[in-house]
Subunit: 365 residues, 4 copies
């Protein structure tokens, strides 16, 4: 089968570099267009980028010529465009791309709250993609020109939080109280400059701008439902679920640790063992669809008393699997546990690639 053409916006940045690593030898996609600022435009990628990944710059990307972020030239030919743009430019660029009929999968926050834009954690709420699937297929049915759209990747710390919640809610009904205290890696903040060394060496920064609000709000959209018309989403109302997040930055390179606590609405509580079994049994739709990046085990439930740990567990299922440990009863709510997710894989670029694989499997792109 012919490879789908993939473009990357913000290709020289931290998220863009991760997209390129994930796409360079992808079985379904071909790196086809790279966009960056005008300063990089016209250069071979290897000359435009300050490559800072632990894997080498893939041969396939080295000589691709970087262009500006405009929906023309090679970008116009793309089947899917991944955006690693900063939020200060993402809004306009992504709008322009989607209006030209392009499928945009974005890591930026700009459209996450837009009514008709799915906010997706690809191991959680792939059913939300039906909104764009419907739009695209309706257009095709009517013989209309290609219908562009934007799909947003969730915030990195939201991804880890909602992954175990999804199977729990499916099994035991709504969660009405939810708290999460995060210990977040620095890689998500990029590297020019990203988090300053002096801020995390022998230190904790107990604040990440906008992060708590994102976690509290995005959880309600992701765990919400597609509306009846399949045009947008019904969020879980504030009155039904209260979410409280406390976010900290620490000296970890990759992998967000989250200490979470939750209460089910129903009085009929599962046991700890039932809850763990439910997490273990969960298979995400992407895996059932046969997506190449989908985790074989969506949730790894660890029994060791001191796990999960970022260094030891972040790469499970290549970073697409989420680890849960220390599941136990909580004296204040019902249950508490520790969740670890790879912030640049399932929490950012990797999620984008898996979303694209799902859209491909569903014949949307």
């Amino acid at each position: 089968m012919a490879l789908k053409k993939a473009g990357v916006l913000g290709a020289t940045g931290s998220v863009g570099q991760r997209f390129i690593l994930l796409l360079a030898d992808h079985p379904e996609f071909e790196l086809y267009a790279l966009g960056a600022s005008s300063r990089s435009s016209g250069k071979a990628y290897k000359d435009a980028v300050k490559w800072k990944q632990t894997s080498l710059l893939p041969a396939k990307a080295q000589d691709l010529v970087v262009t500006e972020c405009k929906p023309e030239g090679r970008f116009a030919e793309c089947d899917v465009v991944f955006s690693g743009l900063d939020s200060d430019v993402a809004g306009e660029v992504e709008k322009a791309f989607s209006e030209k009929g392009l499928a945009v999968i974005s890591n930026a926050k700009n459209y996450r709250r837009a009514e008709d834009v799915p906010l997706i954690v690809p191991i959680v709420n792939t059913d939300h993609l039906s909104v764009v699937e419907k739009r695209v297929k309706d257009a095709r049915a009517k013989g209309e020109p290609k219908s562009g759209f934007i799909v947003c990747i969730s915030n990195c710390s939201t991804a880890g939080l909602v992954a175990p919640l999804k199977p729990l809610v499916d099994a035991y009904g709504p969660i009405d109280l939810l708290t999460a205290t995060t210990l977040q890696a620095i890689s998500g903040a990029g590297f020019s400059p990203g988090v300053s060394g002096i801020d995390v060496l022998d230190n904790v920064v107990p604040f990440i701008s906008g992060e708590e609000e994102k976690m509290e709000w995005e959880t309600k959209k992701i765990l919400g439902t597609v509306n009846a018309a399949q045009t947008g989403f019904d969020l879980i109302p504030e009155s039904s679920m209260k979410v409280s997040a406390q976010c900290n930055r620490i000296a970890v390179s990759d992998g967000h640790t989250e200490c979470i606590s939750l209460r089910f609405k129903s009085d009929k509580k599962p046991t700890v063992d039932e809850l763990k079994q439910t997490l273990r049994n969960y298979q995400c739709e992407a895996f059932k669809l046969g997506c190449p990046s989908a985790p074989k085990n969506t949730i790894h439930v660890l029994e060791e008393e001191d796990r999960p740990q970022p260094r030891l567990d972040r790469d499970r299922d290549n970073g697409y699997g989420v680890s849960v440990g220390r599941v136990r009863e909580d004296p204040v709510l019902d249950f508490k546990m520790v969740v670890l997710s790879h912030n640049t894989v399932i929490g950012a670029a990797g999620a984008g690639v898996l979303i694209a694989e799902i859209l491909n499997a569903k014949n949307v792109i």
Copy 2:
């Protein structure tokens, strides 16, 4: 005034070294006896110790001869004995010392749950010392021989948690729900070996053996009351206050960060501003007594959005002051905030010294 004679048990260990630093130039105490294992016995302290503090080994301690940990010789002459012993030996030794009429202030966990032993955070519940004060003064009144006793220092992470709770409970009544997620420094674990480097480099260990149980239990004793007979303590019953702790070890040298959340029993809630003002106004009894180590500001309420931070705030009031930041409403309970306390000062050896100052001010030792 003549200096009181002070002994240190476990003098070569991590906590013992801190006691020695704090006592070497103390205005009220004189380093008089140092005890360690038989391996060190008979050596000058400077030859027995592998000194690993950031301040130099005080001149006054260098040539003190280390003895075994027995309530005889110079130890028998001590007015107060500080114990930095490991819990595997602390039980027996501290018992022997107190039975010989010595005043023991212990950092070990062994007697924290003993009915007649005060468990003290010296900026919080100094009223609990009345139990030993009564015992000592009764004995004196009867002309009985010196009445020995043990006072326990709380667990390090408990100290940070209860410090802001005390003035809040005094002002707004009981707290019925309390959660705390900690990001704990490694210094508290000692250094032979303490926390392994590979466990905290680019990593989090989301488990500290026994720590969560200590925080959940000790909070109820410390915030409880002296019983009517002044012989022991009435703990807050489980039914009145539920506490849930989640403890993590991270790559910080000194200073425990705790993200806490709480709900008051009463429906009449303070505002965030009132709550902050209450914290700011709080003066611990030790300060009112004029104890030399007492913090001028017991609780530092910080307004910067990204504080407190261990590197920047742990040394406030020489580590005897606790910093509180990010006080805000909590969607799940009533309020959430970040608390930072110096784990080896107010959470360990420093607390011991301040307790001794209080006992001294009250004429108990």
Copy 3:
């Protein structure tokens, strides 16, 4: 081709775990026997080990039953035995194994200085293996029973040092002055307890016991030659080459950085460009033999001014390739450069596996 049977001594330790990871899916070897202390003996490996690798415990190793470290039972059937034993027990055990006719590849220091024991960096001095090759083949020719032997893996910091020296000496003649200052990772020190966290957090320890002597001595054996009788080795005499090492432990998990400086004996000096080309052209014998773990590029010469860096470069060629950067003239000696090598791969367990592959390719095991 049938897989060779491989045993691992010290299987539960840090080096042993690395051997198991490298052997579990090896194309030439089969994990066949695991040895550890009597405490672990009789247990399934998964129950005996506290697994602390970033990759999961391989399925093939999980249920292997651990035995004591004796050259009997399954160990007696092994074609090759890898030793990750600590030096306090390695001496006796490895001797017993080799005397029973077993081929032992050891990471311990005990026999490195033995006259008839090759000390091997498998990308450098594989010609030294001829000493055991001769012994084995002579025995076979005479129809004698299996001739056991020990081959030692070099010290981790020596491996990185000699890797670039080998092609330089081959091309430009002897080096008479050599200095190396190391910045060493903590993983090499194991993890029970290994390097204490408090020793490397916001710190440097400018001393590693015995390390400088090892680097200074081992370099002269490894860069020396097989003696005429092929029974042992002629070391480079002290008078011909002076080596000075300064070793530091820092907060890096894997990857030793070494700042080295050297002077050639000959007055005919290469240019910097010639020297770099020589490094780039170097192909180790293991690669020419087609060994599966051999690095495609033995030496990666980096041109970026700020490389190599441990996080970014340690995994080149799966840790079997060595990176060299900042090659430049040295005002004091002739040239200086920065060398980075993966201490647990080419500097320890990985080297052992590659040595075994070479012995296998040469039909010695």
Copy 4:
């Protein structure tokens, strides 16, 4: 005695904040003028600065009004002006200030190589200050208006290197070969952004722009002599002393560790013990002058095999003392040792303050 009026240029930056900490309660100086960019001008210092020191912002500085960096207003009244400006603006500003007759002590690199500007490590080459002393006193003698001047603080890594060299050269004659490999802290790089966290977490960056050249050149000026006319400096010629530096950035907050090696020109070598005694005996001129910040022990010679270490030794003599350990013979040159110096104290702002104290003691300001 009346306090001298002190100004600080670049007051909101990393170096400026250190100046303010050191000057706020200084017995000889009074914080009198604070200069920063036009963005901060007109604001109270506490509102202009993002304070990031481990000590609190001194009360005396909080309400000082920040002005632009012009030699007018309160700056014109200053007896001494400390410059923590970045090099992109320092050149012009410092020139303007000195031309207005002001005494400028600068941490910037701009004028370090200027022929008539002393480059000072205040525990090493205070005799070089005679050049400005002469100029000022000549002008005073002639009744001319105030003669302004610039004195430069050395690069931070140079300071640690030359400190032990000075007494050695005084005692044993010239050093002809000198190598230094550094492990440098991140604080020197400032914090907006300074060193990126991802660059030093589990990593080493073996390159600091311009640093090696600075160390190699500055050493020759600082160890050189005042010329006969007392108008400038005779550097040690390249032919007499060769210096080679290799610089690395690591995850340490404060304190540069340097592994150095040296050869004396003379064939009459001291013993290791003699060399250590010479270092121990050294008293810097600032101490003899009674300067309040001068270290009591200029060089601390440590005998423990694993010292100096940044966390444990950087604060000796409040960071004004330099620690030397592991003094031993070097197989390649004559001696090697490990030097630790506090990069923001004796290597930056602290040096500036001590220079001012010396100038004050000598009646130059």
